[in-house]
């Protein structure tokens, strides 16, 4: 396979040249690194309370001030990235694996299998994301694991629909017919011939939907259904900050800004990759 490396190199150079993807990718990478190295970067323990310095504004010791318990807002924001990213990335991966498998099986075998799977998807899609997430979290209880499952459940039908649609459009393509003609079995055709061709599309959707998942987690946390305090999460911080909005607006504003930038980075990344792999836009 002599073209393997050049193909990869071509994608890489396209990535570097695509400013949207590059900026988004670098931003996302930075946030991921911040989350991983949180214990070493954050100047204070995010749970350490200092009752003498409650609700301080920005100062040289506490860069973004302190909250109602005298905890360092900057450190809490750094630690908060962990929950957002963990939930965002893992729940979307979960939804991608389960949903893609469902969609591809449905699209390849058609008939009864397809109608059962895709009707199920239709039904799940009848619930607005947030309503479904609120109901499921309320039923399961809010902890990190359950939130990942909940948001994974919300993401699954989206991926199923995407994979199903892409597979249907590829199923009649010549190379799939050719593979069938030489006697390739269904699993081989799905895995070796169809999947690589829809993977790019899934990846774009995955990047964009990590943003959706992170926002969903923040919404749940703001309602009080997120990971429970005192764990620092951005959604929790915004909620706590709202109670002291007049005296210390920074708590809500900075935590919200962190959410915004994180989601924005994944959206830029997804958008950029889409431009890269969309053949209609290539060479323009």
């Amino acid at each position: 396979m002599p073209t393997e490396m050049t193909q990869r190199q071509r994608m890489w150079s396209a990535f570097i040249r695509n400013r949207t993807a590059l900026v988004g990718g670098l931003l996302a990478l930075t946030i991921i690194l911040i989350a991983i190295f949180a214990p070493w970067i954050s100047p204070f323990d995010p749970l350490e309370q200092d009752p003498y310095f409650r609700l301080m504004g920005s100062n040289s010791k506490h860069w973004l001030g302190t909250d109602d318990f005298g905890r360092d807002v900057f450190s809490r924001i750094i630690w908060g990235s962990r929950v957002s990213l963990l939930i965002g990335v893992i729940s979307v991966s979960l939804g991608m694996i389960v949903g893609t498998a469902m969609g591809m099986v449905a699209g390849y075998f058609r008939g009864k299998v397809e109608s059962i799977i895709m009707r199920g998807v239709d039904i799940l899609m009848c619930f607005p994301d947030l309503i479904l997430a609120i109901a499921v979290t309320a039923a399961l209880g809010s902890n990190l694991f359950n939130l990942i499952i909940t948001i994974g459940i919300v993401m699954t039908p989206r991926f199923a629909r995407l994979a199903h649609g892409s597979l249907l459009s590829l199923k009649e393509s010549e190379y799939v017919l050719a593979a069938q003609a030489i006697g390739a079995k269904a699993p081989r055709i799905i895995v070796r011939h169809i999947f690589p061709n829809i993977f790019g599309e899934l990846l774009v959707a995955g990047a964009l939907w990590v943003g959706v998942a992170i926002r969903l987690e923040a919404n749940l946390a703001f309602i009080g259904l997120g990971v429970q305090p005192p764990t620092p999460t951005w959604g929790n911080m915004i909620r706590e900050g709202v109670d002291v909005l007049i005296n210390a607006p920074g708590i809500s504003v900075y935590s919200g800004l962190s959410i915004l930038i994180t989601i924005l980075s994944f959206n830029l990344l997804g958008d950029g990759i889409r431009d890269m792999i969309d053949p209609r836009l290539r060479g323009e």
Binding site: R119, C126, I131, A135, A139, A218, I263
Partner: protein
């Protein structure tokens, strides 16, 4: 068209039925006893049991399910386990607030979004386009409740122009609009971002079509090509996807209602979860899903109506 409408309506019925069943199941697996929630933790066992009997919770699940469906078919949404008032009257009281909020956001979203999207697509890669892309990406990224908080900070705290909380008096137009402005703006900005982006990309798609090139090569003026050939075709996805965004908006409206302490379906639902008011929760979820099923149905019908090329078999 008539046949199609009938078939499509008939198709929605089983979906609606399964969705209702799902709501029933989800509400049954919620932790906690609604009777205990209503009476408080210190209620006697006998009192709790009596209330459970009265609520029908001691009946077997299948009987509860049949009653649930039968009540819904009769339009009876039950009585709130916490307040003792009929759920339907609570919903009727708050529904106008949710409707005015989402409706104004959709309308404003189209009013701003379509022209912005057109201007971006026509002047592709220009400054206008660049600005639009940044604006719409930020709009797609920002959580609605955070936008609401920022608007409160600016327009209610820094410059106290608009009230922060409540829904206003529905019978007093100016008071109502004052309370509506900031919540509607939060949602409308997000809606504008979605619509701008979609309008831009669907116009760019059409601009690549052969018939546009043909029209241009015939010497048709740019403006006429834009209005007669491009816009008319681009409108199809713009209108059709509106339904999809309306569903997204329903989710965001929950958050906005909470931030602004506005009466509405979302606030009712979240309140019901916190108080373990299961009848109310169940009914609000039913209402939400019925709304979504209807929106999906209407979207399909409008799609069919504006694009006669589409054939369904």
């Amino acid at each position: 068209m008539f046949n199609y409408t009938v078939r499509r309506v008939l198709q929605s019925i089983p979906i609606l039925f399964v969705v209702l069943t799902l709501v029933f199941i989800v509400v049954r697996i919620l932790p906690g006893d609604p009777a205990v929630a209503a009476l408080g933790d210190y209620a006697s066992k006998e009192a709790v049991n009596a209330l459970r009997e009265k609520m029908g919770l001691n009946a077997p699940l299948w009987l509860q399910y049949l009653r649930f469906i039968a009540d819904l078919l009769r339009g009876d949404l039950g009585v709130s386990t916490i307040t003792g008032y009929p759920v339907s009257s609570q919903i009727v009281r708050v529904l106008p607030y949710t409707l005015e909020l989402t409706f104004s956001a959709i309308v404003l979203g189209y009013i701003f979004g379509v022209p912005l999207g057109i201007s971006a697509a026509v002047r592709r890669n220009s400054f206008v386009d660049y600005f639009n892309r940044i604006f719409s990406l930020i709009g797609l990224s920002v959580p609605a409740f955070y936008l609401g908080i920022l608007l409160i900070l600016i327009f209610s705290i820094k410059f106290p122009i608009f009230p922060v909380v409540g829904g206003g008096d529905l019978s007093n137009l100016s008071d109502n609009l004052k309370h509506l402005f900031l919540p509607a703006l939060s949602l409308a900005l997000i809606m504008t971002a979605y619509i701008t982006r979609m309008t831009r990309s669907s116009i760019l798609d059409i601009l690549r079509e052969d018939y546009v090139r043909t029209a241009r090569s015939k010497g048709v003026a740019d403006r006429i090509v834009l209005y007669k050939h491009v816009l008319r075709n681009a409108l199809i996805p713009i209108v059709a996807l509106g339904g999809l965004y309306a569903v997204v908006l329903i989710g965001s409206s929950v958050m906005v209602e909470i931030v602004f302490s506005r009466p509405g379906l979302g606030k009712l639902m979240v309140g019901a979860i916190k108080q373990r008011d299961y009848t109310t929760l169940q009914s609000v979820m039913v209402l939400y899903t019925v709304i979504v099923v209807i929106i999906n149905l209407l979207t399909d019908l409008i799609y069919k109506l504006i694009d006669p090329r589409i054939k369904y078999d």
